[in-house]
């Protein structure tokens, strides 16, 4: 194992920094709340009862461990690396988002909070938050961009069925970043009783750390499952990135495994050259938004640009600060995949494996499609199938010119 100095797994430091990224760039009103959260999380981490609770809900409610599945027909079709899917789309609510929500709601309950708020893009985090709020009997308000509400109707209705109030956000680009602004405005107004469940590895410290920790179960399970199946660890990992929580969840376990090649896949939308994309690392610059310093899509004046992706879950102009650090340090390779490539991968997976992937992991799959053929047959590649595609069938239908 690497010594501490060379480890990529020690972050963040006590001020919430991953290298130059991260931090706590919030209004003073929120600062005491964030410090309190940090304190509560530190205490929870040291409490065996918290770990037991987490494990209980992961096993009996979420359905963990999620399977590690050998995608045999896809492997044969691409004719190279041996491809495994980490099946986090089989979790309760259909995505990896629930892992984090269970962790945060347990924290909220420990802290005696009486009300839950969240932001959502594709609606997966909103559904997962509404789910745990129902499970623990807490009222829940989910902020969602008006544009996203329109393109993710099934998830909006699911949240309502779960008893959550979905508040449409009509400011700015009316997508995920604006939903996050609005959730922060709610939090700053309702400081006394409200817990903000952030859905990704972004936001002010300690959110990037705690969301990563709750998602890291993905990587830990993957290591154990692959060891059982193949007698060894992976050669490469692939995951899609919007904010980057499913990717951090898979990657973190393996960051210090020197031989493991790691790929994070951003959304190239209509193509990087068109300017209509969501590839913060590929085409952005460091900046400060939503409580942290990270790579952002922005103009020369520091104004935030609107992101575009066919996948609402990737449609965010920033990225978790730990990814920015892993990008600058070169540990993880970040690439970008277009809407069209993701759609092709979506269809390929449906036909070959009988799995409808969400459009988010369809981006990861498109990268697998590029990588696998050039790799030897004994190369073990693990892709995080972080969400299922049921929510996306209307978008895919429209993109393919079908009427539903």
């Amino acid at each position: 194992m690497s010594d501490k100095r060379n480890s990529y797994r020690t972050g963040p430091d006590e001020r919430g920094h991953f290298g130059m990224f991260g931090g706590r760039f919030v209004a003073e009103t929120l600062m005491p709340l964030i410090l309190e959260l940090e304190e509560a999380y530190t205490a929870a981490k040291a409490d065996p009862e918290f770990a037991r609770d987490l494990e209980y809900y992961f096993k009996h409610y979420v359905g963990r461990p999620s399977p590690l599945y050998f995608a045999q027909r896809l492997t044969e079709h691409l004719g190279g690396a041996k491809i495994y899917f980490k099946r986090d789309e089989l979790n309760h609510t259909g995505a990896h988002k629930i892992n984090n929500c269970i962790g945060q709601i347990l924290l909220a309950v420990r802290m005696g909070r009486k009300r839950i708020i969240a932001e959502t893009g594709a609606g997966q985090h909103g559904v997962a938050t509404a789910t745990v709020a129902a499970l623990f009997g807490l009222p829940c308000t989910v902020y969602m961009g008006a544009t996203d509400i329109e393109r993710q109707q099934p998830n909006v209705f699911r949240m309502k069925l779960l008893g959550a109030e979905v508040k449409p956000v009509t400011s700015g680009s009316q997508t995920l970043k604006d939903a996050m602004n609005e959730a922060l405005r709610d939090w700053v107004t309702n400081v006394a009783d409200t817990f903000y469940i952030i859905g990704t590895v972004a936001g002010p410290h300690p959110y990037p750390e705690l969301v990563r920790d709750f998602q890291s179960v993905i990587g830990r399970e993957t290591r154990a499952q692959l060891l059982e199946a193949e007698g060894r660890g992976p050669d490469s990992l692939v995951a899609c990135i919007g904010g980057g929580s499913n990717a951090m969840g898979l990657f973190h376990e393996f960051l210090d495994d020197e031989g493991v090649e790691i790929y994070g896949v951003e959304a190239a939308g209509h193509g990087i050259e068109t300017g209509e994309h969501a590839a913060s690392l590929t085409a952005g610059k460091p900046g400060v938004l939503h409580g942290n310093r990270t790579y952002l899509l922005q103009d020369d004046d520091g104004q935030i640009l609107e992101a575009h992706s066919i996948s609402a879950g990737l449609d965010y102009p920033g990225i978790g600060p730990e990814h920015s650090y892993l990008h600058d340090s070169g540990r993880v390779k970040y690439v970008a995949v277009t809407d069209t490539e993701a759609l092709e991968a979506f269809q390929m997976c449906a036909r070959l494996e009988g799995i409808l992937p969400a459009l988010e992991p369809a981006h990861a799959l498109a990268q697998v499609r590029k990588l696998a053929p050039g790799l030897p047959a004994d190369h073990l590649l693990v892709m995080n199938m972080c969400g299922r595609g049921d929510k996306d069938i209307f978008i895919v239908a429209r993109a393919l010119g079908e009427e539903l």
């Binding site: 760039f25 602004n181 405005r185 400060v288 938004l289 939503h290 020369d300 520091g302 935030i304």
Partner: protein
């Protein structure tokens, strides 16, 4: 510090003057470039000419997380008119050719300054005639980023204290603050709800026990009466959303924006100037309680 009273000194001089006059000040907030830069310059002149003691000039940002709908809209109007950090500084420089006395505090979010480059921004802002900065998303935990360099450059870094800033935290908030302390009258965003003057008065007294700096109070102050109630015990009242609403509405109806903003400033200023005259003997400030108003110094 330069001999000519710019930067932090201009703010100190203005509060010294207010102290001499035995009254609180009006801090008028407008967004630079709203609805366009030329009008915005006229607005600043009109504010200063009609009783605004300090101008808080917002630097527009696409994602103003601490602001309510009124100032969000002002930010969008300003961005649509092509306002940038550089053009905001140009406008300030132009304002300074008309007015060398009224302190101007630039308010904004960190990213546009960060993108411009802190090392380049500070001398440019000082040269343009900026006296202090209010940057919402830089708590004391991030002082190295901008607060400390700003003070080294001779400008004030005005910190926000809020209802959630408890006694344990207050010293950290006050430590590197200069010029004045901006007390946020309620937990929330700008322009929504109205503060309870009685509650705010107790909070201001609590902060005053820990600092000699003047204390301005803002968030939710829209009318002359509200401003007057705050002016009885605070050293300045900040009015923002009412000004940007006035600017937005007047621009929309094709009226004279600067005149309308000036009229509002005059009205608010009259309320503030009347506050201690009207209630002086009963206000419990300075002389009687020893912990309110300017009487302390």
């Amino acid at each position: 510090m330069t001999a000519r009273a710019g930067g932090e000194a201009r703010i100190d001089a203005r509060f010294a003057q207010l102290r001499d006059e035995g009254r609180a000040g009006l801090i008028a907030f407008v967004t630079a470039g709203d609805p366009d830069l030329a009008t915005s310059l006229d607005v600043c002149k009109a504010l200063a000419a009609n009783g605004a003691d300090i101008i808080e000039l917002g630097m527009p940002f696409t994602d103003p997380m601490a602001d309510g709908p009124a100032i969000q809209r002002a930010n969008l109007r300003a961005l649509r008119s092509g306002t940038t950090v550089a053009r905001t500084l140009e406008m300030l420089r132009a304002f300074r050719t008309f007015d060398a006395e009224t302190p101007v505090v630039l308010m904004g979010y960190f990213n546009p300054i960060y993108r411009y480059g802190v090392a380049r921004f500070l001398p440019d802002a000082l040269a343009a005639g900026c006296d202090g900065l209010i940057v919402v998303d830089l708590p004391p935990e991030e002082d190295d980023e901008l607060c400390l360099p700003t003070r080294q450059a001779g400008m004030s870094f005005v910190r926000l204290a809020t209802p959630t800033t408890d006694d344990r935290r207050l010293p950290a908030v006050l430590e590197n603050t200069s010029g004045f302390v901006y007390y946020v009258s309620m937990a929330g965003i700008t322009g929504v709800g109205a503060p309870d003057a009685g509650v705010v008065k107790r909070s201001v007294a609590r902060i005053r026990a820990s600092t000699d700096l003047p204390i301005a109070v803002g968030f939710g102050i829209r009318t002359a009466d509200q401003a007057a109630a705050i002016a009885e015990f605070a050293d300045a009242a900040v009015v923002g959303s009412a000004f940007v609403d006035c600017i937005g509405d007047t621009a929309k109806s094709g009226g004279d924006v600067a005149t309308a903003a000036g009229n509002l400033a005059r009205e608010l200023s009259a309320g503030i100037r009347g506050a201690r005259r009207k209630h002086g003997r009963h206000a419990g400030s300075g002389a009687t309680s020893g912990q309110g108003g300017m009487g302390r110094r």
